[in-house]
Symmetry: C2
Subunit: 460 residues, 2 copies
């Protein structure tokens, strides 16, 4: 015990200081809206983040990482709007540099592509998983700092590219295991072409905005809203007829195919939707998971082609868990080069927070940070414990070594609180017989295992 004497002295000395200073402690706390997770939640969050990253990589997307701080005049080049009121902008004292924290990953992508244009190979596929910052008013489920997990392809107009995103969403949400889901598909060319065709080109934004709300308002309200925009009765009926086109993907496509709309844009959009559906079938995405929905518009002026949103069938109240679409002009504020893009984003922080509220969906119990914990019963077995932990790691089993000179009871309580399924115990008896005691923490049972067979036993 000699070696702990000095430490105890330190502890006593410090406690004395502490009694004097205890009132001067700063309360450890975070700014409101800035979330963090406890270990079990973080392990689960990172598991989901890992599924997203590895799936993005499987399709050949390159990881990208840009600074959290951008120059204000660059980031807010577009200017105006709600965005500008919701950003964290600042100058340091004595410095002229005007910084703004990124509020999404799309504008930094535009800046990156424009800045490094000559060094990139197009089509440029990148994924970016990172935190973004919005100074929104605080409310439940809204964070001021949150993760976005984006993929975009820049520099391609091929409709085949558009099909990769639902295929990727399908794979990610299948791995997530939050039940069945539906990827809703539409194409803004179909919508805008249709509005053109019935003489509504001049108010297409307003009509879109109204259709976007369709699910939330009654049919009467919808009619009234459309009238207020200036649609005559025939136009209102045509819009209602159009948005009521539902059914299987083939049914919707064939009804759109025979619709009498005088617009090349419309026909081109319908053809693109058809290519998208065909490619998704070829990719093996189950037909039940993607559905053309003509009411999906996804915001206003941004998108110009395919649009996506994703609903969890069992939890529609969560809203869209993965959305995106095609936009014609990514970096028009920075470069004269024509850079069309298409992409999707998963708001993982929001998704995780919402799903955590649903009982049983995200396991609340602690997940162990390693496959197994290795413990000596007495200090004489420390060396053996170290050697066994090292051997396990070398064989691909992650192992935590318990290093404290505690009583066995306390050691086992630690293993249990940390969520380990198995603890490897080494005592005097085990050392003599060249075995370890493998304790099943859930069943509470133990059995002797030969050291040489430990790895194969654990891998089972």
């Amino acid at each position: 015990m000699y070696k702990y004497i000095y430490d105890w002295q330190i502890a006593i000395r410090r406690t004395e200081n502490r009694e004097i200073n205890v009132k001067n402690k700063v309360q450890p706390r975070r700014p409101g809206g800035f979330n963090e997770l406890l270990p079990a939640g973080q392990i689960e969050f990172d598991r989901l983040k890992g599924i997203i990253a590895s799936t993005y990589e499987k399709y050949g997307f390159t990881p990208l990482d840009t600074p959290v701080l951008e120059l204000t005049d660059v980031l807010l080049a577009k200017g105006g709007g709600e965005t500008e009121q919701q950003v964290y902008s600042f100058k340091r004292e004595g410095s002229k540099t005007d910084f703004t924290m990124r509020y999404d990953l799309t504008v930094p992508l535009a800046r990156y592509v424009a800045e490094h244009e000559s060094d990139l190979v197009f089509p440029f596929r990148r994924y970016h998983i990172g935190k973004v910052y919005r100074a929104e008013r605080q409310q439940k489920g809204r964070f001021n700092e949150f993760y976005q997990c984006d993929i975009d392809v820049i520099g391609s107009r091929s409709p085949l590219i558009d099909a990769e995103f639902p295929a990727i969403i399908n794979e990610i949400f299948e791995k997530f295991g939050f039940g069945e889901f539906t990827i809703r598909l539409n194409n803004r060319m179909v919508l805008n072409g249709f509005f053109d065709g019935i003489g509504l080109a001049h108010v297409s934004s307003e009509v879109l905005r109204t259709i976007d709300k369709m699910e939330k308002i009654s049919k009467e309200e919808l009619k009234e809203n459309l009238s207020q925009i200036g649609l005559n009765r025939t136009q209102v009926d045509k819009v209602l007829d159009f948005t009521s086109i539902t059914g299987s993907n083939d049914e919707v496509l064939s009804r759109l195919g025979v619709l009498d709309v005088d617009s090349d844009l419309f026909r081109d959009g319908v053809e693109k939707l058809g290519i998208l559906v065909g490619a998704l079938r070829t990719m093996g995405v189950p037909e039940s998971r993607f559905r053309i929905d003509l009411r999906i518009a996804r915001g206003l002026d941004y998108y110009t082609g395919t649009v996506y949103e994703t609903i969890l069938n069992d939890y529609p109240e969560v809203g869209s868990v993965c959305s995106g679409g095609r936009y014609d002009d990514l970096a028009g504020y920075y470069t004269a080069t024509d850079l069309p893009g298409v992409g999707i984003s998963i708001g993982l922080s929001r998704l995780f927070s919402k799903l955590s509220e649903i009982p049983g969906l995200i396991p609340a119990e602690r997940k162990s940070p390693a496959d197994v914990v290795v413990m000596s019963i007495g200090s004489d077995q420390n060396e053996t414990a170290i050697a066994i932990a090292s051997a396990l790691r070398e064989s691909g089993v992650s192992a935590m070594l318990y290093t404290e000179p505690d009583q066995l009871k306390k050691k086992l309580r630690f293993a249990s609180r940390m969520g380990f399924a198995y603890a490897v115990l080494i005592g005097e008896k085990e050392m003599q017989s060249g075995t370890v005691s493998l304790k099943d923490m859930n069943a509470g049972t133990s059995r002797e295992v030969e050291v040489m067979e430990l790895v194969s036993t654990l891998k089972k």
Copy 2:
């Protein structure tokens, strides 16, 4: 070709607009000191980051993630010093909240542990890989935003814990493959105990600071510095004798063991160094990779026990690539609970930047973002290309689908520029015979492969 007409029209219209607006573009650029990588560099950077994370996890460290923005009064509770001048602090207009961007991952860890104390199980092992922010004057190799990759164990005084860090460093730098490296070890108890024993307790900080510079100054300068601090000739000689104790780990330990120093602290420190060396041997860390070096002090008041630093043998000019140590009191500003800790940090951004300057060390050529690229030769083979790419991914081969309706020559140039080793080509001939053409991009040769055998061929 019909389906591209609309896109072309858009392109022409946009070009016209562009000619008018070209002067109004915002130059895409970043704030100085805020670095970002091109795709090939990012792939390599992320590979190294992945090695660090997976090794940390192998030893049972839990991932942790804290907000980038902290409350200024909490983050700067310690106050004073250089730190305060190098932080990004700000308030938003109309808000009282005073934010500071984190400048390291240790103070946020202290805040986290104190805030969530009752929800954590101790000893608490966490790793955190994240960006930190320092408003340093810009110079080569210094960034204002950079990655730190930290691990710490909080709540343990066991000297066995101290041995895990060199074992982890050993594993990470072995996987990195930057040649041989040396982990230098020391213990502040040995240093402080020795100073106590020769009557230098009152100036131990100053003596430490001088010793820390030993490698950079001459012996004469060193003597002069020590005299200026107030050491008499005998004390100067004793300090010089002490710091000249070198040799194998066992030699240094045995020389320390017989040194006549009247200090329990010293003897305790020497014992702990001995335990550390013994545990590292048990863990199988090669003896050539760790070395007791009594000149290592690592900064000033922070550390209280074991200290570490790591030198790349072939690139000593890079300085320490992984440092850390044991500190007695992590969260004293926030809580009265005694929270000793020990940890190390890898400054990955700095390491990556320094090593990138050394020719041949970090491969400069582009790394492909997937195992293979799949291309149809004509549009009739698109569907087959999609199906083959999907089948490859399902078999665990990451595959990029080339989706552009380009000439074969352009497709192959893309594959080459993206660094793909192999391209899978599907043309009319291949479709008829149920084969693909597998092109070795480096050799420039092609061969026919049965579709069913493609996966096994690629995995070879």
